[in-house]
């Protein structure tokens, strides 16, 4: 069993600030790294479930996550601490960079390094999906659905609201069916294992 630790308000603010400031090419990879592996605020499963909810809602994914996780821990103050920490510093930084960009963008070396960073950032997001997948060990029908969503979004270019409207009920239906099948088993027949 992995043990989780309840963060303080300051932990939340600075933890999300760290996520925001290290979020190159999206916050997905860093958010999971900081919250699940470094600080152990949530288990892998808890994180995946809250993230899934954040994905289904419109707007920034980790931003939604910050609101929901903050509310869960400390109500409104918690939500404000998470959101403020997450967006505050990067926003100031970006505004500064916009003013400098006319100068920066012309330097060939900066451009070359940024191309390399972008390629690696894509790998980071892909690796995060694979790492979550292997650690959660989803049942076969869940893997099938995840792959179908991936295919629909990338190859078939299905609009995201449509994917969510079709995929969410399908996933919930499959999970409820599986839960019903598991429940009649005698108590203790299967020992619950925490995330590795």
């Amino acid at each position: 069993m992995t043990t989780t630790q309840k963060p303080s308000l300051a932990n939340l603010f600075f933890g999300f600030m760290k996520v925001g400031c290290m979020a190159f090419g999206g916050a997905q990879a860093v958010a999971r790294r900081v919250m699940v592996e470094e600080r152990r605020w949530l288990t892998e499963r808890d994180y995946a479930e809250l993230l899934a909810l954040a994905h289904v809602l419109p707007g920034p994914n980790i931003g939604n996550f910050a609101v929901m996780f903050g509310r869960r821990e400390y109500g409104l103050v918690g939500a404000l601490a998470c959101v403020g920490g997450f967006f505050g510093l990067p926003l100031c930084l970006l505004v500064g960079l916009v003013s400098l960009y006319g100068y920066f963008g012309q330097i060939a070396e900066v451009n070359a390094a940024m191309h390399g960073v972008a390629a690696a950032a894509a790998g980071m997001v892909l690796g995060t999906a694979l790492r979550m997948g292997t650690r959660l060990k989803p049942p076969p029908e869940a893997i099938g659905l995840a792959l179908a969503v991936l295919l629909a979004s990338t190859v078939l270019k299905v609009p995201l609201p449509v994917i969510v409207l079709v995929g969410a009920p399908l996933g919930v239906f499959a999970a409820l069916r599986r839960a019903r099948k598991v429940r009649p088993a005698p108590a203790g027949a299967q020992s619950r294992q925490g995330d590795a």
Binding site: F24, G59, Y101, H115, A121, L126, G127, L160, P161
Partner: protein
């Protein structure tokens, strides 16, 4: 209508349909800012977008700096509040709903049922990013190496970015 309110309403309407986050926001933002309202030209749009993606921070902030570019501080505030406010209120309400239903026996499995959706969407945004980043021949190699590293090594994922940046510098 005051300018900041106009910006607020525009970006709120963009954010509220962006299921899937910032990656979905970009095409719609382009349509509104460049095609329909002609608030900036094509080159400026893609430069600001690339800047927001390369700089640290959530990608949704690309909208904030577009607001800043268009209308200074009022534009920045209107756009940022529009992008973040309404969706945050929605997330807040949903969080309250799941809290109230916490003891319903179906809630946990139902929430678990959304996990494959999240996995698929995270994977999809990774693939879209990989495609956009494939601007030079060895970019896919860097992407695959970073994927394997983050997947299999229990180390800080940011090393992948540093190595990617250095490789880009050396190769290009």
């Amino acid at each position: 209508m005051p300018f900041w309110l106009d910006m607020f309403l525009l970006f709120a309407s963009l954010s509220l349909v962006a299921v899937g986050g910032a990656n979905v926001l970009a095409p719609e933002m382009h349509r509104q800012l460049v095609d329909i309202r002609q608030l900036m030209d094509e080159a400026t749009f893609s430069q600001l977008l690339a800047l927001a993606q390369a700089a640290p921070g959530p990608n949704i902030l690309s909208g904030s700096i577009m607001g800043y570019w268009i209308g200074g501080v009022p534009g920045l505030l209107g756009a940022t509040l529009g992008l973040l406010g309404p969706t945050a209120v929605l997330a807040w309400l949903i969080a309250g709903l799941t809290k109230r239903l916490a003891h319903a026996p179906w809630l946990k499995p139902a929430q678990a049922g959304l996990v494959p959706l999240a996995l698929g969407l995270v994977g999809a945004s990774g693939l879209v990013m990989a495609q956009a980043a494939a601007s030079f021949p060895l970019a896919p190699v860097i992407t695959v190496l970073a994927t394997l590293y983050v997947w299999l090594a229990p180390l800080n994922p940011l090393w992948a970015l540093l190595v990617g940046g250095v490789l880009g510098l050396v190769l290009l």
